[in-house]
């Protein structure tokens, strides 16, 4: 096969996988803390829209990315408020976010608004000169790099920090976590907000880096593919990244086939691969996926504002002594 086709497929793979990776990483924060997140799609969509609008009004791409992440975080806050404070079913809460995002972005979108440019590739010196690899890996726009870095950052936070340990404790056994003095509500709230912000960066990728403008329903199910990647990757950042790359590759091949033909498989069947694989993994046909034990269950402890404030101030003052 022509080397140029290979490079273009690999570049497309990375490009397609970026929003999926970020969505899945966002999902990991939320679900590891015990809050089911089927709202990734809605968080990405509203953030994509917010990023676009900030870009239209300020023309500043950095502010646009930050704006997208803030709005993603706000959607996370709503999800947290409904499912943690009001204890409504987390899947329904996620559905509320998803419908709300479609409605609000569609309502506020003016079709006249024109974009003020998008993020352009930053070739990394020397490394980008390596043939093939350099072109694929080291000549990308900033959010694509950030997504790759975020994989390692998320893994570090989850498995190497006190915060990660607390998050996993709350997601596996909230009552035990509560007895050792972890504020279950606070840990969940913050993780769900982070979840929205990270997924929001994935949304920003669409309007500020890939497409460059907004259209209604621009996420087009990517949030649900991210959910699939999260499960296929067994709630692990590296696994989720691998799944996102695989799904991105499936997508890239699908697009390539539509252009060039070859391979006697209808492209729709290649498009199904992520979903079929996820079902197989979930059903235990391809290794068993084990979700965090307490995911989906609202926590029924006491909730006092005073305690939350105390915990927040403690967080900033001292390193927690109980876990070393």
């Amino acid at each position: 096969m022509d080397i140029r086709i290979i490079i273009s497929v690999l570049r497309a793979t990375l490009r397609q996988s970026t929003p999926i990776t970020l969505g899945a990483l966002g999902g990991i924060f939320s679900e590891r803390s015990g809050v089911v997140n089927i709202a990734i799609e809605g968080m990405m969509l509203s953030a994509a829209f917010a990023g676009f609008m900030v870009n239209v009004y300020t023309g500043n791409l950095f502010f646009a990315v930050i704006g997208a992440m803030i709005v993603g975080g706000l959607m996370g806050l709503i999800h947290a408020w409904l499912s943690i404070t009001f204890k409504i079913d987390q899947i329904i809460s996620g559905t509320v976010i998803n419908i709300l995002a479609i409605g609000l972005t569609g309502y506020f979108y003016q079709s006249g608004a024109t974009t003020k440019g998008k993020l352009s590739p930053i070739p990394i010196p020397i490394l980008s000169d390596i043939p093939v690899i350099g072109e694929v890996l080291f000549n990308n726009p900033p959010i694509t790099y950030t997504a790759i870095v975020m994989v390692f950052v998320t893994a570090f936070i989850m498995f190497r920090t006190t915060w990660g340990l607390r998050t996993r404790a709350v997601g596996e056994h909230p009552h035990a976590a509560d007895t050792v003095g972890i504020n279950v509500y606070l840990v969940r709230y913050i993780n769900v907000i982070i979840s929205g912000a990270v997924a929001g960066l994935g949304g920003a990728f669409l309007t500020l880096e890939s497409v460059g403008s907004f259209e209604r329903g621009i996420t087009n199910g990517r949030g649900f593919i991210a959910l699939a990647a999260l499960i296929f990757g067994k709630w692990n950042p590296y696994g989720a990244w691998g799944a996102a790359l695989l799904f991105g590759f499936a997508n890239a091949i699908q697009t390539q086939l539509q252009f060039t033909g070859g391979l006697n498989v209808p492209h729709e069947f290649i498009g199904m691969i992520p979903y079929v694989l996820t079902v197989l993994v979930l059903a235990g046909f391809v290794g068993k996926a084990r979700p965090p034990a307490a995911v989906g269950q609202p926590y029924d402890g006491h909730l006092s504002l005073k305690e939350i404030f105390n915990d927040i101030s403690k967080m900033f003052k001292t390193k927690s002594p109980e876990i070393s």
Binding site: I38, I91, L104, G106, Y107, P292, G296
Partner: protein, 368 residues
């Protein structure tokens, strides 16, 4: 005398009680919706009166409202039925697609069949298409513990790709630019009744009949008893000798069947061919419809009518007052939020809370 009158008030209250929260939820959502309208410089009264005019302003519009209501009833029933069995069917959209394409296929592939055979056959095909697509996640849940929320989401997208392949490949209308199936035979179409502008097809009596059948199935049959027991407490059900696996598979199959019928009535009654974009957007709406009706089959008829009116009226509203029709989705999301977070409504209107009204429908991915 005094005693008698209070007795009557109690009776009235008992009838009104279940309606209070849903009505207040709708009311609050409309008010919050007005804030969004004002924020964008629209007059809420103009917008909502445009909506009402669009939904009920003429015979033709009323007919449109009722025609829109029909698939909502089936979709709402699908979700409500699964909820009664403790299952969250988020896959109504995929089941609807599979039902619609099956009905369309049977509708156009046979020629010269008499109406009395062809139409029921097409309806049956649609029902079975949906039932099949619902049964697979049910089976996976029963035998592998795969959570139905994720599997049904995945099956939505698998169905979307699959029907996309069918209408652009083997079942494509030859020579058409748009990916769609050929038109179904006249003998497979749901006939219209009513005259002139108030023309309705037989999907509406079918929908109401099916709602009553589902009501009967849930509350008057042994299967319904098993279904509700499994829904309330699967381990207790299993301990008392109910086969939770069997009930789970049947619940999902029937739920899928109902969703399949939602696609079927539109295909056979209104669209007369299958084209994926005409059947989109029912999955999430069905969830709101079911929850607003508190998963009661007869309540679903009422809430579907509300949704039918909103969708019929929104186009007119957009044309008359320039309000983007998406405001309807904002209001619907708010309705879902307020219905699910009943506590919110109770705090806002200072209502006393009721025993055991919490709504925990599913128990996360891990629940086997």
């Amino acid at each position: 005398m005094e005693e008698k009158s209070t007795f009557r008030t109690d009776q009235i209250m008992a009838i009104i009680q279940p309606f209070i929260v849903p009505v207040l939820a709708i009311f609050t959502s409309v008010i919050v919706g007005s804030i969004f309208l004002l924020a964008y410089g629209f007059n809420p009264i103009d917008a909502y009166s445009g909506l009402l005019d669009g939904a009920f302003g003429s015979n033709r519009r009323i007919a449109k409202t009722i025609l829109n209501t029909i698939p909502y009833i089936f979709g709402g029933l699908a979700v409500a039925f699964a909820f009664k069995g403790g299952l969250f069917n988020i896959g109504a959209q995929g089941q609807l697609f599979m039902g619609a394409i099956s009905a369309a296929y049977v509708g156009f592939v046979f020629e010269g069949l008499p109406f009395i055979i062809h139409m029921p056959l097409a309806v049956l095909a649609g029902a079975l298409g949906g039932a099949f697509w619902g049964a697979i996640p049910g089976f996976l849940k029963a035998y592998t513990g795969a959570h139905e929320v994720i599997t049904t989401i995945m099956f939505n997208y698998i169905a979307l790709s699959f029907v996309g392949y069918l209408v652009s490949g083997p079942l494509k209308l030859e020579g058409s630019v748009i990916a769609k199936t050929p038109e179904i035979a006249d003998a497979a179409k749901l006939p219209f009744f009513g005259t002139g502008e108030l023309g309705l097809h037989y999907g509406i009596p079918l929908a109401i009949l099916v709602a009553f059948i589902i009501y009967w199935l849930i509350w008057k049959t042994p299967f319904g008893f098993e279904l509700r027991t499994v829904g309330l407490n699967p381990s207790a059900a299993s301990y008392s000798g109910i086969s939770v696996k069997r009930v789970t598979i049947f619940t999902m199959a029937i739920s899928g069947l109902l969703a399949g019928l939602a696609g079927t009535v539109d295909t056979l009654g209104l669209i007369h061919h299958f084209e994926p974009s005409f059947n989109l957007g029912y999955g999430f709406d069905s969830i709101t419809i079911a929850l607003l009706a508190k998963n009661h089959p007869l309540g679903v008829i009422l809430t579907s009518f509300l949704f039918g009116a909103m969708s019929a009226g929104s186009t007119r509203m957009q044309r008359a007052s320039g309000v983007p029709s998406e405001i309807i989705q904002v209001v619907q999301a708010l309705i879902l939020m307020f219905v699910a977070a009943e506590q919110l409504i109770r705090i806002m209107y200072r209502l006393r809370s009721q025993e055991g009204e919490g709504l925990q429908l599913s128990s996360g991915w891990g629940a086997g």
